[in-house]
């Protein structure tokens, strides 16, 4: 079946088997390997991408279901050589160790901060509860998201974050 999707603003298409998972389309067909496969069982969130702006687990969706829809992956965060405030904040606050969960953490946090520009720590912990990190104990990830929220609030025009 032919699938057409917009990934990070670019229109892409491919002929795929219906059983191909979205994460495999992204990684193996389009070679965007920033999106990771962790547990492959809908638990860990390493494969998180934004589907029409909402974070979803791309290992638990078929590529054909994404036909005609817009996807954002971690590769789309950097703009013109400048890191996204979330990426800078994960560096500044040491929000990663091995980095395996990071693409998913970033994508979930991006969608979350767009809706909740001034979240409490509890809100952040709830928002990332579908993304597992086995290194950090989450403390620095939460700090990184708080850091990014402050940065985005400072730079965003009234009405929302990038």
């Amino acid at each position: 079946m032919n699938v057409q999707v917009t990934i990070n603003g670019e229109k892409l298409s491919a002929d795929v088997e219906p059983r191909l998972l979205l994460v495999h389309l992204i990684r193996e067909v389009f070679r965007l390997t920033g999106t990771h496969i962790g547990c492959d069982t809908t638990h860990c969130g390493a494969c998180t991408v934004l589907l029409d702006g909402r974070p979803v687990k791309s290992c638990t969706m078929f590529a054909v279901q994404a036909n005609g829809r817009e996807i954002q992956t971690v590769e789309g965060l950097e703009q013109d050589g400048a890191l996204h405030p979330l990426q800078e904040s994960f560096m500044a606050e040491h929000g990663l160790q091995c980095g395996y969960c990071t693409p998913g953490m970033l994508m979930t946090s991006k969608a979350f901060l767009e809706k909740h520009p001034s979240p409490s720590e509890d809100d952040i912990r709830r928002a990332i509860s579908g993304n597992l990190c086995r290194c950090t104990g989450y403390v620095n990830i939460v700090k990184a998201v708080q850091h990014a929220a402050a940065k985005l609030r400072a730079t965003a025009p009234a009405g929302g974050a990038r």
């Binding site: 079946m1 088997e17 219906p18 059983r19 998972l21 492959d40 069982t41 809908t42 638990h43 969130g45 998180t48 589907l51 909402r54 974070p55 979803v56 687990k57 638990t60 969706m61 078929f62 054909v64 279901q65 979930t108 709830r126 928002a127 509860s129 579908g130 993304n131």
Partner: protein, 291 residues
């Protein structure tokens, strides 16, 4: 993990979908949110030859109040339920359940209707809808029929839906004044199925006694369980501690759990007893009762 191959169908009307289901028979499965089905396909616990994806049918994702009921469409995501103003302000039992199902990412795709149609007694909405006394609207090739929730769950992963029917709407009766509900769930970690969970919906009469009450139990039997004896023990009574304790024990007696990694039979029954008491207290408080 790669699922077995299947033919993919993406109908754009309910009529087209039910005609497909009618033609394909037992070889077809309905794909809605996919958050239960796709993991099963990947583990090859199921290998249907056809998937009928209903996500391309417009107009099925809604939460609205009309004609004395909250109406939830076939494609309403758990996240939509969580964000619904009506749910947050008037259906606390649904609001409690919505934020405890799986995790926030899964809730962006998972549907309320799928949670019911899957027929898994470990899912949360079955017990919730039993407590609420909901009604299921099923649409097949020859039209629509309504199924009371008490006759919807037939066995593990088995519901009253026929092979060519879609669950098109869930109707939750609007709560009377002085109503309250609560869902209390014990889970080992975010995203796990409940060790046990209890759903309570009740209404208090002017004199403070309990006029109606529904109690549903999650993951302590082959189907979700309506704790009818506990309900009967509460009806017409003031919700004092002795009455709540008795109801907790009766709910525990109604549970039929199996021992597994989440605990022994005795432990799970005791969890039901404790959670029932907690849910009753919370529901009564939300109903505005002084107990």
């Amino acid at each position: 993990m790669i699922p077995a191959g299947f033919d993919y169908h993406a109908p754009t009307t309910i009529g087209e979908a039910t005609a497909l289901l009618s033609r394909l028979g037992d070889d077809a499965k309905v794909l809605s949110g996919g958050q239960s089905l796709i993991p099963l396909l990947k583990l090859r616990l199921a290998s249907p030859r056809h998937l009928v994806d209903i996500n391309r049918i417009p107009g099925l994702g809604y939460v609205k109040e009309a004609d004395g009921a909250l109406r939830i469409g076939a494609l309403t995501r758990e996240a939509d339920l969580e964000e619904s103003e009506a749910v947050r302000t008037r259906y606390p039992l649904l609001a409690d359940a919505a934020r405890t199902i799986a995790d926030p990412l899964v809730r962006n795709l998972a549907t309320v209707a799928g949670n019911l149609a899957h027929g898994d007694p470990a899912n949360d909405h079955p017990a919730v809808m039993l407590a609420l006394g909901a009604e299921i609207v099923a649409t097949g090739p020859s039209g629509e029929r309504r199924i009371p929730i008490v006759s919807f769950f037939r066995g593990p992963f088995e519901t009253a839906l026929k092979g060519d029917e879609l669950l098109t709407e869930i109707r939750v009766p609007a709560p009377a004044p002085r109503s309250g509900g609560a869902y209390v769930k014990l889970e080992r970690k975010v995203g796990d199925f409940a060790t046990a969970a209890v759903a309570v919906q009740l209404t208090l009469a002017a004199d403070g006694t309990c006029s109606t009450v529904g109690i549903g139990l999650t993951n302590v039997g082959l189907t979700p369980i309506k704790a009818e004896k506990a309900e009967a023990a509460l009806r017409g009574k003031r919700l004092d501690e002795a009455t709540i304790r008795e109801a907790g024990q009766l709910a525990a007696d109604a549970a039929r759990p199996e021992a597994d990694l989440r605990g022994s039979v005795e432990y799970k029954k005791d969890v039901v007893r404790v959670l029932t008491m907690r849910a009753l207290r919370k529901a009564a408080e939300r109903a505005g009762g002084d107990r």
